[in-house]
């Protein structure tokens, strides 16, 4: 094929430009560290990237939800621990008071201590944690336990909600985060009130019979819910650990999808640089001389 000077120059310029285009792309990759800067670089990869980043945000959100739940349940566990201590002391006192040989004023002293224990238990029931009542269910603004009677407490009313607070700890996976006070503590408080009244009245038969029995039941109830809380905390901690692994995996996938293999990119850059220099040198050699240089 007949090749003219014009053809030679055009080819040289085109090839140099192609090389510069490749150099430009490599430079961009190395400077940004990303292989995908626009969807057209890798359409499927771009869609995957969007999905992965969305997943990462989800995992991080669920992690926060789980952490919040653990904090809430830990506070619940602490409160129930306090309640247990109260009830155990009450049982000691009940055993003391049930003894027929105890004099009236001693029984009165025990009754006074039971009063204190009642107040304490009500306080535990009204624990305010992180802006909400721990045992109020979904009614987070109303104080759950309201006592009646003054100066001695004669009854207790539960004013809180009955539905639990629910959080999502995974896609579509909901967990109840709390226990409402009417299930957990109302019985215990009422038991203590009756205990105190019986002590004051000196009903030793009641004291050693139904009252002690009721106290055991109350302790069992609180223990049950403590165990529940503990079980939930365990489950949540396992979930947390799983999410940490998941977050790591998703980040790895994102990196594999989007990040540049630096070593390869730098090697490609060096190779392309050499090609460019060779092209420049070669073009310079062939477009300069012509027949005129050689004619006398």
């Amino acid at each position: 094929m007949r090749v003219t000077n014009g053809t030679l120059v055009r080819h040289s310029v085109n090839n140099l430009n192609d090389s510069l285009e490749r150099l430009d792309e490599l430079n961009r990759r190395i400077s940004t560290g990303k292989t995908i800067s626009t969807p057209s670089d890798d359409p499927a990869g771009a869609a995957t990237s969007l999905r992965l980043r969305s997943s990462l945000a989800e995992v991080q959100q669920y992690t926060r939800n789980v952490e919040d739940s653990i904090s809430w349940l830990n506070a619940t566990d602490s409160a129930l621990g306090e309640a247990t201590a109260v009830l155990q002391r009450a049982r000691e006192l009940a055993v003391q008071g049930a003894n027929g040989t105890v004099p009236d004023d001693a029984r009165e002293a025990i009754a006074l201590e039971i009063d204190e224990l009642i107040d304490h238990l009500v306080q535990v029931g009204n624990t305010f944690h992180d802006g909400r009542y721990l045992f109020g269910g979904q009614d987070t603004v109303t104080r759950p336990f309201q006592t009646t009677g003054s100066p001695a407490v004669t009854g207790v009313v539960y004013n809180g909600g009955t539905e639990p607070i629910v959080t999502e700890i995974g896609a579509g996976i909901r967990m109840e985060m709390d226990f409402s006070g009417d299930q957990v503590l109302v019985g215990s408080i009422e038991t203590l009130i009756k205990l105190r009244d019986d002590l004051r009245a000196g009903n030793t038969a009641e004291l050693s019979g139904t009252d002690l029995g009721a106290l055991e039941d109350a302790l069992d109830t609180v223990l049950y819910y403590r165990a529940e809380a503990g079980a939930k905390i365990n489950r949540l901690e396992r979930t947390l650990s799983r999410f940490q692994d998941l977050e790591l995996n998703v980040n790895t996938l994102i990196s594999e999808n989007e990040d540049v293999d630096m070593a390869k990119a730098i090697m490609d850059l060096k190779t392309e640089e050499n090609i460019y220099r060779a092209a420049l040198s070669s073009s310079a050699r062939i477009i300069q001389p012509s027949l005129l240089d050689f004619l006398k």
Binding site: G6, T7, T38, P43, L50, Q61, R132, Q138, E168, L291
Partner: protein
């Protein structure tokens, strides 16, 4: 045998050679001067022997044979392969269209700005996150403020993206008008050249340089529109566009780009004399019109559809829930009236958090039971992220990712097509250049050749002159 051509015929032969080779040198000089002129086709002085003597006939003298009488330049040939040129014009149309698509789709990719942390995807994810946080603290004013804020950011991002897309449509309109003016200008110039070429051709000349100029103009025109070129009379060409004549001999029609009330003020292209729509099926103009009318509308509609789905589904769930004031039945987003602009009511342009909510965050319906600590309606709102809201098969996130993927594919396709076309055009230019290109080495070699022939002819003339001198001045003067 008698030398019958006349005593001075030798000088005439020399003179003819000098003439022809001077002409040839001029042509060579013209080639060298125009070696870098765009569109220039090299020219060759075609030489052929002049008619030999004697001319055969009844009264012709009886001689030893035909004697040559010298050389003449019969014509100056223009070296051009029209077939290759026409192929180039065809491929220019395709290149023009894909080149505009490539540029435009790149622009659209930049508008969407994905994948990134500042695009629609990120804004949507942060909105869902805010709802999740509200689930845990439904009565917390700070959590409500974050929900309202993130929702506003999402709305702004959608609106901004849509606005940039519609503004780009307007920008493309301006581009259409500029290119239509160019088409008109080229058509006029081509008609003008046709006129000049016809005049010269009719009187027997070959306007080679005018042909080159006209080819250059047609090449530019073919990049803009699908120009259908056909040969006319007297060296003129006719150009048709979509079946209607654009250039007919020395007359050019003109196009007009006018904002069209029927199409929301978008510019449409008509023939000036008839007012009919111009049918353009290839070239840069086609590429621009396609992007403006099809591709951009597709992306704008997709955004509107997504926004409308988000608004309607969120409002549906929100209305079932209770605010902190104990009331239900409220919308979270301002509802969009789809009867005004069917089918999606330009939702992505109109999406915004309802005024009611913005003025009183307590009205955000996080509760399903009315209790302030009940965040289960907020949970239902948050769970819309995973809900298959689009045609019952895809989530909003899936739909968006799929939109971005299709944008990527379209853009990639355009780039590949442009690369392929450029390779093809380069090859065609090589083929064309092989025929029409000026090779300086070749021209210099020819120059030497013609120079030698010229010198030899001059030498011949000197020889004849001396011989005649002998004949005229020194013959028959014996004894003077």
């Amino acid at each position: 045998m008698v030398h019958l051509a006349g005593s001075f015929s030798g000088i005439e032969i020399a003179r003819r050679s000098l003439d022809a080779h001077r002409t040839a040198l001029d042509v060579t000089g013209h080639n060298i001067a125009n070696a870098n002129t765009p569109g220039y086709s090299r020219q060759i002085a075609s030489m052929s022997p002049t008619r030999a003597y004697p001319v055969p006939g009844y009264g012709s003298p009886n001689t030893a044979g035909q004697v040559g009488t010298g050389v003449e330049v019969t014509r100056i040939e223009r070296m051009k392969d029209s077939f290759i040129e026409e192929r180039i014009w065809e491929e220019n149309q395709v290149t023009g269209r894909w080149s505009e698509r490539e540029d435009a789709l790149e622009q659209i990719e930049l508008i969407f700005n994905e994948p990134s942390e500042s695009g629609i995807r990120s804004a949507m994810d942060q909105y869902w996150e805010a709802l999740q946080e509200l689930t845990k603290r439904p009565d917390d004013l700070a959590a409500r403020a974050v929900v309202a804020e993130r929702a506003s950011v999402l709305a702004d991002t959608l609106q901004q993206t849509r606005l940039q897309l519609t503004q780009y449509q307007s920008d493309l309109d301006r581009s259409v008008m500029v290119k239509v003016r160019e088409v008109n200008s080229l058509a006029t110039q081509i008609a003008d050249l046709n006129d000049q070429i016809a005049r010269i051709t009719v009187s027997g000349g070959r306007p080679n340089d005018l042909y080159d100029q006209r080819d250059l103009l047609v090449a530019r025109l073919s990049r803009l529109v699908d120009a259908d070129v056909s040969t006319g009379s007297q060296g003129m060409i006719n150009i048709a566009l979509g079946g209607v004549s654009l250039v007919s001999g020395n007359r050019a029609s003109q196009l007009r780009a006018e904002p069209d009330g029927d199409r929301a003020g978008r510019v449409s292209i008509e023939w000036e004399w008839t007012g009919e729509q111009a049918v353009i099926t290839n070239g840069e103009l086609k590429g621009i019109l396609e992007i403006r009318d099809q591709d951009l509308n597709y992306y704008i509609t997709a955004l509107d559809s997504m926004a409308l789905t988000l608004i309607e589904e969120t409002n549906r769930v929100h209305r079932e829930g209770y605010g902190l004031d104990g009331f239900n039945g409220r919308n979270f987003w301002e509802p969009v009236d789809t009867s005004v602009e069917p089918p999606y009511g330009q939702a992505a342009a109109r999406i915004r958090v309802s005024d009611e909510i913005r003025s009183d965050l307590n009205k955000i319906a996080a509760s399903a039971s009315g209790l302030p600590g009940d965040g289960s309606n907020a949970l239902r709102l948050a769970e819309l992220k995973q809900a298959r809201l689009v045609d019952g098969t895809a989530t909003l996130s899936d739909e968006y990712a799929s939109l971005i993927a299709s944008l990527g594919v379209a853009s990639q396709e355009a780039k590949t097509m442009v690369d392929n076309q450029e390779t093809l055009l380069n090859h065609l230019e090589d083929l064309g250049g092989a025929v029409s290109g000026v090779s300086l080495d070749e021209e210099v070699a020819n120059m030497i050749q013609y120079q030698h022939a010229y010198n030899a002819a001059a030498r011949l003339m000197t020889t004849m002159d001396e011989m005649l001198d002998v004949l005229i001045n020194r013959t028959g003067i014996v004894g003077r």
